[in-house]
Symmetry: C2
């Protein structure tokens, strides 16, 4: 009954991993993660080939994956997010088989339904006991929630926990229990704490961002949703965080007690919990140390699995009860379709994450985006890639005006009545083009390099090989 492996290599051999199988990783260690590269190097040295890598997200630190693709160790990638380093490699046609992009809710759905079965899951665990009861809340590489890893552990044929803090049995505050774990490997370090904590969790100082954040809060107020029991999610971008800060001020001033904050959690949302804006936090991922400290110590700050967060096929998920979500966009078109996968040139530099899941679930899904970035218009006729369908987006807030999805007539009237600067999205597009020029039609190659799989399993768009202009 001893699950402790002497080495990662031994654990991989014990798992029976062989050519053509699927392995999985989670991304709570973000850009500080050592585990994916460590595992891939070991697998490569064992001569195992043609693997599918199912990773909840891939960051720049995972750029070495490109070498394993070139060498035939990795034949296919499934992920919810891919940052620019690997994104460029894929967009340049570096991989034969298209990447499968899913959402944070679609990934656990497809794992649980057996659409994307996992042979061996590798769980980077900041703390684990010898039987595999493991947690992200403790240890020198503490990352807080392990929410995205839970479906992997529960459904993989074989589960290897990799930790740099081996604790006495039983680790009582486990996120993943021993019943799912086959092997535990102790290593020197699973990650770099500086990279684990996001660099983006600071409020913007940019006046454009601040002005949009203020308008976002005015939209929420005018929507009628900001009342007792209010629930909220926002991202970790600067303007989104500013919106959280301004929202907190309003809620405290008006003594509004919300029910829950959701999502990737930052210190700003923790402040809202601690100051009484919310009864609880539902946390699938911690973005900063304050969030990690809070989930470790505050029982009202609770870890949720990716399934509980956002699965389309769970009997219900938290996103289904969400009032308001604030989201970003690299592009949004006049049908409110949002692109968060590629830049305007069509290069992969992101992914849906929970974008489409929360947009579909929330009563009010709001995009905050400036009209243009780096002299390229954000509001456009047609997005290069549909990440989130416009039918699930309710409002766009820009620095020049606010556009409401035409199917939300009652909401539009509310914003007009509140004297907000409501415009048609086509007007915003024209404004954007007046500032930054009409964007050239992006040319692309013939080959599909990625499929965008919506949360219900349907392919809603494809990304083609990019052609540098």
């Amino acid at each position: 009954m001893n699950k402790l492996a002497h080495s990662l290599k031994e654990a991989i051999i014990d798992s029976g991993l062989s050519d053509g199988m699927t392995i999985s990783f989670h991304h709570h260690l973000r850009n500080g993660d050592f585990v994916l590269n460590m595992v891939m190097d070991e697998i490569a040295s064992l001569g195992i080939k043609h693997l599918t890598v199912n990773a909840s997200s891939l960051f720049d630190i995972h750029a070495p994956l490109a070498e394993h693709i070139k060498n035939g160790v990795v034949a296919k990638i499934q992920t919810d997010y891919m940052s620019a380093a690997l994104g460029k490699f894929i967009s340049d046609g570096g991989m034969e088989v298209p990447v499968e992009f899913r959402t944070h809710g679609g990934r656990p759905r497809d794992i649980e339904k057996g659409i994307t079965p996992i042979d061996v899951a590798f769980i980077a665990a900041p703390a684990s006991d010898c039987s595999g009861n493991c947690s992200g809340k403790l240890g020198k590489s503490a990352c807080g929630s392990l929410g995205y890893a839970i479906p992997d552990a529960m459904n993989a044929r074989y589960v290897v926990v990799i930790t740099d803090s081996l604790m006495q049995y039983p680790l009582i505050d486990w996120s993943i229990s021993e019943v799912y774990v086959d092997r535990v490997v102790a290593v020197e370090s699973i990650g770099d704490p500086k990279g684990i904590v996001s660099g983006t969790t600071k409020i913007t100082r940019d006046p454009v961002g601040l002005s949009m954040a203020m308008d976002a809060v005015e939209v929420i107020r005018a929507s009628g949703l900001l009342k007792e029991g209010f629930s909220f999610q926002t991202g970790a971008g600067g303007a989104s965080l500013a919106a959280a800060k301004f929202l907190k001020d309003v809620m405290l001033k008006e003594r509004i007690h919300g029910s829950f904050g959701l999502g990737g959690i930052t210190g700003y949302i923790v402040d809202m919990l601690n100051e009484g804006c919310f009864e609880s936090l539902m946390d699938v991922q911690c973005f900063d140390l304050k969030a990690v400290e809070s989930i470790r110590t505050n029982p009202r700050h609770r870890e949720i699995s990716a399934t509980h967060y956002a699965s389309h096929d769970a009997k219900s998920a938290t996103v289904d009860s969400l009032d308001v979500v604030i989201l970003g966009a690299t592009q949004i078109d006049t049908k409110f379709n949002v692109n968060v996968h590629t830049n305007s040139d069509g290069y992969i530099m992101g992914g849906s994450g929970g974008h489409s899941d929360t947009a579909a679930g929330a009563k009010l899904a709001m995009i905050i985006a400036p009209l243009s970035r780096a002299r390229l218009p954000i509001v456009t006729d047609k997005v290069t890639c549909v990440s989130t369908p416009g039918s699930t987006i309710d409002v766009l807030v820009t620095q020049k005006g606010i556009a409401v999805n035409p199917k939300r007539k009652e909401l539009k009237q509310r914003l007009v009545d509140a004297k907000l600067n409501v415009m048609e999205i086509e007007e915003l597009k024209e404004l954007a083009e007046r500032i930054s020029g009409v964007p050239q039609q992006t040319e692309h190659g013939e080959r599909v390099v990625a499929d965008i799989i919506y949360r219900d399993g349907t392919i809603i768009d494809r990304i083609y090989e990019a052609k540098a202009r």
Copy 2:
């Protein structure tokens, strides 16, 4: 997305329940449970027939099930424990199809492997929100852990939560999450708090019981297991509780810091946690109010699922890491086989519960039992029914002496060296017969009324129709 049913009847109809299906119940409300009878009456009134009832345990309050068996509503019973009222009905041949007895670890194993699939699980939940995030820790019928219900909720095709405390969404301290729940029904009362708390959680005053408890602690000391990291489980019987009390005194005096207390948890084990004998408690069921209060408020007192507690087919379970368990017996034979299913006349009045699971897992599995009860010898040539195989039992402690399983030679030597009153089990049997007389061979009928299914899925014994002497 509204899961709230207007009535239990509506929820049953929505579940698609029909003739021949399997429904399940858990027993955390013990002899105070209103839910099983309430559901069965509603099902009977809907005219649904030939159901299999899979209940983690059945108490005297569930005696009305006999009527549903007679009327053809219930065709088969699967359970881990059945108290005397229903036990007599079954032993008298009241049911055509044999009862399937499993263990607390075998039940979740067979549910998870699809051997005993559940169509509709009915979860008695002392607190739930409208989406089915539910808990046993809160509400007027609080029972603490919902550990036995977790595998049912995770694996049933349809899950109905029945609560008498509907809470605001999200109920943050859920034991079972909304992702598994189809319908929530609010009722006036799910149980009688007086029956929920066991009547057995008091230390014995009987000098025989106290003497055996003291000897049990001496056996633990002599075994060499009572040291840093020690782990322990005991039942809720009077002598077992007395052993816990004496063990606590020893651990405090000798400053031994154990790792965990396991099992059905009583206030005595909570005291051991609070006074520093254990780092944590792993709790599949609370036996008294002190345990309920502790699991609600102390993060080191953690709920575990039945799978995590004891499943034979989990990648590991807590019983696998257990040092010592103290168990009871209605009979034990000279091969150390233990009967906890029937009385000496062969009438069903119990069941394995976690008996065989903990015996198999623990490094030291000890039976405490007096030589005789009600003038019937407990130690005998051959038990009427093998609940737990003798190969997994290490020691028998009686008021007249201590017997060690012959295969544990090293342990026997330790007890001899500690000058404990070690005897052969055959000697204890003879002593018992000298006191109470040689028991008559129990006669029984031809018909099998129950199968005893061991934790690995094999049938280890059968119970036959009883013949009253």
